[in-house]
């Protein structure tokens, strides 16, 4: 039988690169098989995907050895355009995928390139739009007027219209809010169930929703070294240490089971979702009633590890927004009537849909924007202090030619005591070692990997002159599990009674382990601001902003119901 994809001993090195991006990767994907490719940032997942259609090395030069066959045809002997009939991609950045000016032209693009008859294209455009839940009335809509979620739906429709035997999803949800993410997963789920012979490959850091559909998982390690290629249940349970060791993400259910097994609890089964894990645990408790206290204590310990403890550091009020509004010149109001206060020692999470005004509110809190109405006031009515802001794109913050100079800029500014430059340099060297950037000290900040850029941007903000407010905008975006975890520890370590930290994020599970309070923003207005514990169990409120409760909160509710 002709395989959907066959990769044998594939190695890849980019020009002028010191190390290979892929090192001897082999995989066979049969028709109808669903494969997840995972691994830490920079493990070569996207490079591997681009080799399947010949884009690497035909369009992106690289030294490639090994063999790739797509639908039984050697990729090296075919043109990329011809291979596009057998493989369709959905990439992470919907903005860069769209190339036509209207929705229908975008969805029709690949079909026009194949010179299909207009009537057939028209039929497929209608069908694809209805698959992703976009109304036919949107066909003539200008693609520039779409929201981020709508753009990704159009990109999905454009891929679905191609009707290829193999689909590749390269982190398709990484830039979406949870609601748009759920819609994307639902479409992929439907695609997977719709045709038993269609093969799907998804590459992502975190793709729990699709695990029940996944047949096998390929784990890539450093330099694109293949570490495992097997069924998800055995991989994430029996070889959890290997996956965790690469810095890759473990499903919550496997993470919980690993924790419980490490405490000596003999658990059978290999659940991949939290729902399956809890059903399994109920059955286990029925069979082992004497072990209930041990099991409950162990689960409580896991929850404690995952959810942030209530803040112990209570400082004085640092800043107050009083009915603050912000509207850009000539534009509609983005933030409306927001009143909140920041207290020293607290970490405040800021959540909401894409476009809810989170970043704008963050900029107001940091003092980089002034409210167009309302007030931003300091303690006891004094002038409001300015803050630091760590931008979503770390490159925006870089202003020097080397990593160490970038850090020195902040450190010299923070030393108003006239201490010598040498002392600042010593401190910079120490910080770079602590943050794992020492070996990159002479590199230009733009030459770092995304994870390294993120670490440097955080470091630069931390080292800058004492500002009592520091705002992080989507700091965990694009980071693998290990890097995200380390960043969370760094931010948690910033609790000081004279400093307030604000963290904007879509990743509710990541925030749950960090924040004391959470503010929920809905269309520019503050829907609620309360303790993280109170907000995270308010399903109605979370649903309003397209969020679901964190997995740890779901498990805590299960535990509370049984104790």
């Amino acid at each position: 039988m002709k395989g959907a994809l066959s990769v044998r001993e594939l190695s890849l090195t980019y020009p002028r690169a010191a190390a290979p991006a892929l090192s001897g990767v082999s995989l066979e994907v049969t028709p109808g098989e669903r494969v997840l490719v995972t691994g830490p940032s920079g493990a070569g997942k996207s490079s591997l995907a681009l080799c399947w259609s010949g884009i690497i090395p035909q369009s992106i030069p690289a030294q490639v050895t090994g063999a790739v066959e797509l639908a039984g045809r050697p990729v090296a002997a075919s043109r990329v355009a011809d291979l596009s009939r057998d493989i369709a991609y959905v990439f992470q950045d919907a903005d860069s995928q769209l190339c036509a000016l209207t929705v229908e032209d975008e969805v029709a693009f690949a079909l026009e390139n194949r010179a299909l008859p207009p009537a057939e294209i028209d039929r497929r455009v209608d069908q694809a739009l209805s698959w992703v839940g976009l109304p036919a009335a949107m066909r003539r809509r200008d693609t520039r007027t779409l929201s981020g979620g709508e753009k990704q739906m159009v990109a999905l429709a454009a891929a679905l219209a191609q009707d290829t035997p193999l689909y590749v999803f390269d982190e398709p949800t990484s830039q979406l809010d949870p609601e748009a993410t759920a819609r994307t997963y639902a479409v992929i789920d439907r695609l997977a169930r719709g045709d038993a012979r269609r093969s799907l490959i998804y590459m992502d850091h975190k793709i729990e929703a699709l695990l029940p559909l996944t047949d096998r998982v390929l784990v890539l390690g450093e330099n694109g070294m293949p570490l495992a290629f097997e069924a998800p249940d055995t991989l994430f349970h029996d070889r959890a240490a290997l996956v965790a060791g690469t810095g890759s993400w473990l499903p919550t259910a496997a993470h919980l089971y690993r924790f419980l097994r490490a405490r000596g609890l003999q658990l059978a089964g290999r659940p991949l979702t939290v729902a399956a894990a809890l059903t399994n645990l109920d059955r286990w408790l029925e069979q082992n009633p004497g072990m209930r206290p041990d099991m409950f204590a162990a689960i409580a310990a896991w929850i404690e590890q995952e959810l942030a403890p209530p803040s112990l550091a209570v400082g004085k009020s640092i800043l107050q927004l009083d009915r603050a509004c912000y509207a850009p010149s000539g534009g509609p109001e983005i933030v409306s009537d927001v009143s909140l206060s920041l207290t020293g020692g607290e970490i405040l999470g800021l959540v909401g849909r894409n476009g809810a005004g989170k970043s704008t509110l963050g900029l107001l809190l940091a003092g980089l924007l002034e409210p167009t109405r309302g007030a931003r006031i300091g303690r006891d009515g004094s002038a409001a202090p300015s803050g630091q802001f760590v931008f979503q794109n770390p490159e925006h913050q870089f202003a020097r030619e080397s990593v160490i100079d970038e850090l020195m800029l902040s450190l010299l500014a923070s030393r108003d005591d006239g201490s010598p430059q040498e002392a600042a340099r010593l401190e910079a060297e120490k910080l770079l070692r602590d943050f794992g950037l020492w070996h990159k000290r002479a590199a230009h900040p733009f030459q770092l990997s995304h994870g390294q850029k993120r670490r440097l941007s955080v470091l630069v903000a931390i080292a800058a002159p004492g500002r009592p407010i520091i705002v992080f905008d989507e700091p965990s975006y694009g980071l693998d599990a290990d890097a995200a975890q380390r960043l969370r520890r760094t931010i948690a370590g910033m609790r000081r009674t004279d400093q307030a930290v604000v963290v904007i994020s879509h990743d509710i599970d990541w925030l749950a382990g960090l924040c004391d309070r959470i503010a929920v923003l809905d269309r520019g207005r503050l829907a609620r601001i309360d303790s993280a514990r109170a907000v995270l169990v308010d399903r109605q409120l979370l649903a309003l902003t397209g969020l679901a409760p964190p997995q740890a909160v779901v498990i805590r509710a299960w535990l509370d119901a049984r104790q």
């Binding site: 681009l50 259609s53 884009i55 369009s59 992106i60 043109r79 990329v80 355009a81 011809d82 596009s84 009939r85 493989i87 991609y89 990439f91 950045d93 903005d95 860069s96 995928q97 769209l98 190339c99 036509a100 000016l101 209207t102 229908e104 032209d105 029709a108 693009f109 690949a110 079909l111 026009e112 390139n113 194949r114 010179a115 299909l116 008859p117 207009p118 294209i121 009335a137 693609t143 520039r144 454009a158 980089l368 802001f389 931008f391 794109n393 490159e395 925006h396 913050q397 870089f398 202003a399 020097r400 800029l409 902040s410 450190l411 010299l412 500014a413 923070s414 733009f446 800058a464 002159p465």
Partner: protein, 256 residues
Amino acid sequence: MRDSEWRPLHPVNPLTKLAAAIVLVIAVTVVFDIRFQAAVLALIVVVLMVLEGVPPLRLALVMLPFALMGFGFLWTNLLFHEAGGYVESLGRFSLLRGSALDDGIVVFLRAVNFGAVSYAFVRATPPADLARALMQNAGLRPTVAFAVFSVVQFIPQLQDDLRQLHLAHALRAATAQASGIRSLVGLPRRYVDLVIPLLAGAVRRAQRSAISMEARGLTHPMRRSFLVCSKFGRADLVFALASSASLMLMIGLAVV
């Protein structure tokens, strides 16, 4: 939504409209006559308000920059008319010299008409239709057309990036001042600091966009079909006849 409105100029092939606009711009440039210029303006205003449904206030706002520029010409002409040569320098092909005010008004109307004709074309021609017509009827390479579209898609993102960069660099500049590093706040340096990240982002986006298009089969040379065929039909004939007749009539006004 405008799609449901009556837009009688939309079925006309964009290339027919483009040809008519070019001919009209040439006529506006060549025919130095107050009646002709006024008639062209009246015609375009009627087309925009009646056929395209543009509200009068919006039309006035769009025309304002052209009117201001035209007013500049009018004023200059009034001041320097006696010295001669100014109107000729703006392109008057008639040997007859009118009064300072007449010549000035013609130059004023001509500036407004350039704007009005351009706006009417843009208003009556969705960019996607123009691009489709250029690819199907004028031999524009799809690889070039879609590369241009991608750039159009980037513009709002670049604007957003620039806004973020200004804020980030304001923050860093404040840090630099506090650190005593002066070069960072120098003007040329500030532009370099803005341009490098903007370019880095744009290059990455361009590469992603090229990958996405190539992965969907865009190449050169290629045989391509089109979902919407851009044809020349009855609407083009009617439009071409009506445009030619109007132009003749307006030129006639100038000659009589």
